[in-house]
């Protein structure tokens, strides 16, 4: 668990780990413009599973009311989301 604020780069790395764990695949380093739906064939349901995995890894709890699929489409958007929820936690 990370207690200090997360940097964008750390968030990206945590996302990579979560994807690797949910998809049981080797995930290459991510870049901000990657689209998670097309790149990894994630759908809205597997996105939810990835997010639950990240909650466990990083120790935060998302508010379901804050979850907008648009924030999760790209690696960059997803990482920014993680940085901001971790800040608020």
């Amino acid at each position: 668990m990370l207690d200090k604020p997360l940097t964008q780069q750390e968030a990206r790395e945590q996302l990579r780990k979560a994807l690797a764990s949910v998809l049981e695949e080797q995930i290459p380093p991510l870049s901000d413009e990657m689209n998670l739906f097309s790149e990894f064939h994630l759908d809205s349901m597997s996105m939810l599973e990835t997010l639950m995995e990240l909650e466990d890894m990083l120790g935060f709890h998302v508010d379901p009311e804050e979850l907008d699929i648009k924030d999760f489409e790209t690696v960059g958007g997803y990482s920014s989301f993680l940085v901001s929820v971790k800040d608020a936690a």
Partner: protein, 508 residues
Amino acid sequence: MALLHERLDRAATTEPERIAIETDSVSLSLSELAERAHAMAIWLSEQGVERGDRIIIQAKNDPISVVLIYAISAVGGCFVPVHPSTPPEQLAYIEGNSEARLVISHVAGKWIARDGNKRQNLPNPLEHRPSKVVQTQLTKFDPDIVSEDLACMIYTSGSTGRPKGVTCLHRQMTFSIGAIAEALDYRVGDRIFCALPLSFDYGLYQVFLAIESGASLWLDDPEVGGLGLFKALKNSEAHVLPAVPPMIDALAVMSKRKPSGLPKLRLITNTGGAPSPESIKTLRTALPNLGFQLMYGLTECKRVSITPVDGDLQRPGTCGKPLRGTRVEVVDDTGTPLPAGEVGEFVVYGANMMAGYWKDDDLTQQTYRKQHATLPRLHSGDYGWMDEEGYLYCQGRRDDIFKIRGFRVSCSEIEAAATEAPEVHHAVMVPPAKNRAATLFVCAPSGEFDLLPFLANRLERHKLPEKVRFIDDMPRTANNKYDRKALISLMEAERAKKTTTEGIETYA
């Protein structure tokens, strides 16, 4: 006369101002919807569309899809809704099989109508605003359309081969709409949240049911289905959520974190497989005002049965009672009706039966089997039983059922038992076949564990799967049902790979 667009006319005449279709940026009242459909009908007939023509709509969840549906109906055409992500090869098959006159799709922000190789932009019916309100009657557009005319064709994947076009006449659709609306607790002024694709008959009929019930339909992107569902529902302030089992699972996960977070939501309906009883229990606890109506149906007759609100509490496992004016019999392999409590095939008899499979005489005869050469009954291929009060208990598709050591076993039953385990989120059973073990695929985010003792407490010994495999993500079909076929393909691919490897080793 029972015509699809006539139902819209009737609603628009009674309450022209009532909102029919909404998204977060657009809303159309009943009269606006009818006017726009009328304008679009004029355009379609200018393109040469005639009575009986089939028109494919790559039906994005958008008000324009709804305008198109009513416009096609008004000119006497037959709309064929397909999923926006239908692969080109599949679309080409459907286009050929239906001999479609036009293919209308939404490409790069534009609606395009394609006639053979000729493409043109569709007029935007939302931009076009009539200068003054004209009373438009869609039924006046072509008064010669009769209720026996073709209205719609829905391609469903059969158990084998190519998708089949289930052919639906106006009278069959309007009967179904009326009977379903009677059984569902949709109320005047309700807002129905539809994130089911309009190409899926469950999603499509939400349009008709909303208009029939005096409710409005909130169209959302099917992609919100999991992660964004809670927020989208909250944002829409919807009262009703028509769901498939994975949506119920996702909503249960999120509602647990935000109890009472969806105060407006009053009703969830389910079809497309039995929902997880555990998820329903979670939702009932988190949202005390929420009721459930569990249903069963197949495209071939749209809907078979509906449970009254929360009827599943008294009768766990039920999928409801047959629609008003229809009958279901449970029959054995010879077609003889079975007494209550005995498992057999559901045979449906009533005006909800659709016309058959487009251009497939054999399959139509086989499924809509005629007695005495005159009386058709729909053999559903689904098995289950009926209790003394006439409630149905569905055990699944014919291919859900397999025999092992002479016992009949249902995949759905094993899946339901597995999802009762708190660790298990989803479970899909793959029946055994030659060189393939009876395998239960399980999603359990907390990690692998020994599920068999848990199952052994719930199922007879012969029903226990030979193998339990944990996977992280359950494949789903375009309609968001769990995809057993994909799991079977996975096992076959693994086996093919293994055989090849073994072969190499032998010769090495």
